[in-house]
Symmetry: C2
Subunit: 565 residues, 2 copies
């Protein structure tokens, strides 16, 4: 491709409403242009990248045995009524009336439409399993569309839906899809993690999210160095603590006149923060409750709500605290409360000996406290804390924290949709059976933005090679003045293209500085400069996008260098 016959339009300005690096860079590189809030035109440059992502997604879905089809984007209300989602989906569902006042929506996802297709097509267990997918335009009426294509209203999504005669077969396909997703994100050249979604209500492995790791990610993740374990920080688990040491100290009341936080108490007493215990006063279904976590830990609300009786807990009022503990906040603890209370101890707290808690008396804490001696064992011992970087992971590795951008989701739906839509097939015994379903999404257009969040520098985008609009850019110095230079560049272009290396020739005739800035901005992995001086010396200037310096290579060296591009 010659750039003079393409349409590239970069800009220097950064629009005021662009906050994220990917949004700024996509606009500056001219990959996208805004048509209206959350609606973007993909320019020729942007579309090249989008199509490369799409092609890899499609190849791996095909390889995994999924079969592509295409559902309408406009879908009738009646269908969405069958599952109750016409109302339940909420404001993101863009509702449409046609000229006959019939109601439709612009598909934000397609469980209803695919189940309708399936119930027309599939009548027997012999036709199962099957996994249908599409790569198609979706619309979600975001209340505050932002971050460019990261959270656009109209976007490109790969959505797949599988149908199964048994839960076991669904679980098998779920693993198959996880493997396909791993291949996709690996092939795209992205650093990513498969993250356990909050699976409380659904169970085990029924849902995982795929995140591209990037500092700007919306989600805080924890992952292990010891395996591919990764989870949202809110649901991540660390390894259980070791056995509780024997008590070595006697309990004593210590004066902490103004020390209300664990940090202050630890400093005053000259002990490790890990030996202090935070008492959080709550009211659950079983009444007044103290939740205990170590001084260096935080209560994790999602985990705590899974403890029996705590699904709808609330913070205790000052009056309730005074009534049950006889003290004001800052000096609370589980030892000898004024009235009977429930105690929920985090596993790490239950494993402590000789720890420090509030004394339920303003200005005092208790040190050298031990379970079973100074107070009864806790009513509940559970994992109710947030993990922190450095925690030992369940697999023996170390937990690290990172931020991620969700780009994929795999989900064992079970029979929610097939049941609601009365979709049955005949089973081996000739009886009507409701198939189990899985769904598997990838935000194709979002991947483009996420890749930039993960891979950019001051000069612009740094594409992973498989996503780059072109792998190699040939920059010609003064093509219009020097026909020999232009011809040499053209010959190199032909040679690289013939070798299957997707190459662009910048023959626009820009000054070298402006040309190099464009090529860096749009993130081409390899740059070759063809100049009169180089030709005279028989050399080409080569520079990798990530290299600090350019190299002078002869033709053989250059081709060797680019062969793997």
């Amino acid at each position: 491709m010659r750039l003079s016959r393409f349409h590239l339009h970069t800009t220097k300005e950064t629009p005021a409403d662009a906050e994220l690096a990917s949004h700024k860079l996509m606009l500056r590189a001219g990959m996208i242009r805004k048509l209206a809030a959350g609606l973007y035109t993909w320019s020729p440059l942007g579309l090249r990248v989008l199509r490369k992502v799409e092609a890899i997604v499609r190849e791996e879905m095909d390889r995994a045995g999924a079969v592509e089809l295409q559902l309408p984007t406009v879908q009738p209300r009646e269908l969405w009524e069958e599952t109750g989602r016409w109302e339940k989906f909420g404001g993101q569902l863009l509702k449409i009336k046609d000229r006959k006042e019939q109601e439709y929506c612009f598909s934000p996802t397609a469980e209803e439409a695919i189940t309708d297709f399936a119930r027309q097509e599939l009548g027997s267990y012999k036709q199962l399993p099957v996994n249908f997918y599409q790569v198609h335009t979706k619309f979600r009426d975001e209340i505050r569309p932002r971050f460019g294509v990261m959270r656009a209203r109209e976007f490109l999504m790969k959505d797949a839906y599988s149908f199964h005669a048994s839960d076991e077969d669904l679980a098998r396909e779920y693993e198959n899809m996880k493997a396909a997703y791993t291949r996709i994100f690996t092939r795209l050249g992205l650093e990513f993690r498969a993250v356990q979604a909050d699976s409380g209500a659904i169970g085990g492995d029924a849902s995982q999210e795929f995140h591209v790791i990037a500092d700007s990610g919306e989600d805080a993740l924890a992952f292990s160095t010891g395996s591919d374990y990764a989870a949202n920080v809110e649901t991540a688990q660390a390894a259980a603590p070791g056995p509780r040491p024997d008590a070595a100290e006697t309990m004593r009341k210590v004066e902490t006149p103004v020390q209300k936080t664990c940090e202050d108490v630890a400093a005053l007493l000259g002990i490790a923060l890990q030996r202090t215990v935070k008492s959080v006063a709550l009211v659950g279904a079983d009444g007044f409750t103290l939740a205990l976590v170590r001084g260096d830990h935080m209560v994790n609300e999602i985990k705590l709500r899974k403890v029996a009786g705590m699904a709808d807990y609330r913070a205790a009022t000052e009056a309730e605290i005074l009534e049950h503990l006889g003290s004001e906040p800052g000096f609370l603890g589980p030892v000898a409360p004024a009235r009977a209370i429930r105690v929920i101890a985090d596993r790490e707290v239950a494993a402590l000996a000789d720890f420090v808690v509030g004394a339920n008396a303003p200005g005092f804490h208790l040190a050298g406290v031990n379970w079973g001696r100074d107070l009864a064992e806790a009513d509940v011992v559970a994992d109710i804390r947030e993990v922190v970087a450095g925690d030992r992971a369940v697999d023996g590795g170390e937990l690290r924290l990172a931020r991620g951008i969700e780009v994929g989701h795999v989900f064992q739906l079970g029979r929610t949709y097939s049941q609601a839509m009365k979709f049955t097939v005949l089973d081996e015994n000739g009886k009507a059976a409701v198939p189990a379903m899985g769904c598997y999404g990838i935000g194709v257009s979002r991947i483009v933005a996420a890749a930039i969040e993960q891979n950019h520098d001051e000069a612009g985008i740094i594409w992973p090679a498989p996503m780059a609009p072109w792998r190699v850019a040939i920059c010609v110095i003064n093509p219009k003045k020097d026909a020999a230079v232009d011809a040499a560049a053209g010959a190199l272009l032909d040679e690289l293209q013939a070798a299957g290396i997707d190459t662009v020739l910048d023959d626009r005739g820009l000054r070298p500085g402006a040309m190099f800035a464009d090529i860096e901005l749009i993130g081409i992995p390899h740059r070759v400069v063809v100049s009169e001086r180089g030709l005279a010396a028989g050399t080409f200037e080569y520079r990798a996008r990530t290299a600090a310096e350019a190299q002078s290579l002869d033709r053989g060296q250059l081709l060797e260098q680019l062969r793997g591009a």
Copy 2:
């Protein structure tokens, strides 16, 4: 591809609402399934065909130098207000309100969106010309969606828009696009014609439609055997008639008591219908007018309205006829009217001598009438008739009539949109200039239906090879009973695929009759049967979809036969 790992679901029933062969066959073959009125799911089988068409369209657009991008399907009202089309587009424009009550439409075409993109991107004549295209979902809210994907509401369209510094350059690109379209439809293996659209208001060659020829087509076309001239019957022109012969007869009044039609008069008088003249009484801007066409011809309203003063003509009332001609309809003529009238003669009528017209007296006609002797030369001589099969064409060939399905349109838009949207670039003199625009559409999904209309028989679809879901189908007899047969079929599949021949292996284990019926229904061009008996004899049964008989071929002959498939 093994069919057991695909999803093929054919049906025997023909739905009641399916009228066209393509609609019936696409449903029977399971290429599409209806989701709602005018909304269809493309099944895996259907999508394979759609993608093949899409790929050829894309390749030829790229080859022609157009650059692909993608515009949002949802577009804001403000944009459509700029050209006045928010109102003018009419009921086909699907209007949408988002959660903030902002108004949008689902793009039925994209002149506004592309011009908005262009005015953000293009600032100088140096960036011209450029031709942007996309292949994307469109929506037209048809009042009566029908014929399956032939006239669906949601459909796949290739739309291209070019921008130019001059009209000459627009005309050049227009020819470039016509050539690309010709390559596209030729490569698709379709019989088609480029047809001059009604170009009255726009001029010369400013608009052409591409039609696939099919008996069921909505449009009546005339085309010449002498060149690639083709036009809608309503605008088609025949060659001008030769010079008028000398008068040979004297005018005489003949009795035609009940003969009101030219046919009846010609029969009564024993003369050729071509010598009779039909007088059509009209009122135009210049008052009462007789339009004259030969008895074997029909007035063409579109042509007639282009005659000065006739743009808004209407039929004359009986009272007006009586007032001007002194007669009732059936016996009208241009000779000696009661009052002054305007006479518009078709070119063929003006070239007649010794012709027959009504005598403006009930029960009488005039025979042997001659221009310039029995009545003054006509006020206007023009081509105002519809062409008929067998007419001599302008190029010397013969005009034939056919029916066509419009699948493409090329159009020199000029500056209508760029002007309305205040899009200017700086010209060579640094002055703001409004670029000229062209637009070029192809109904990608409609092509699939049109191809079937043109190519089918009792047994099903007959795909032109480039559009076929697979070029070759290997049918295995009893694959589950006989592992050797299955292995032989698998080896043949691998060999054909390796040779680049898109092949499917029907290993579903159906009875031969049902399997062959499916393969014929879905229109696979070449069928190979692998059976135990064949293997024993070292032969394969081969049959082309269009052949009456199967042949028994050895492996070498078979591969030779399929090499070009």
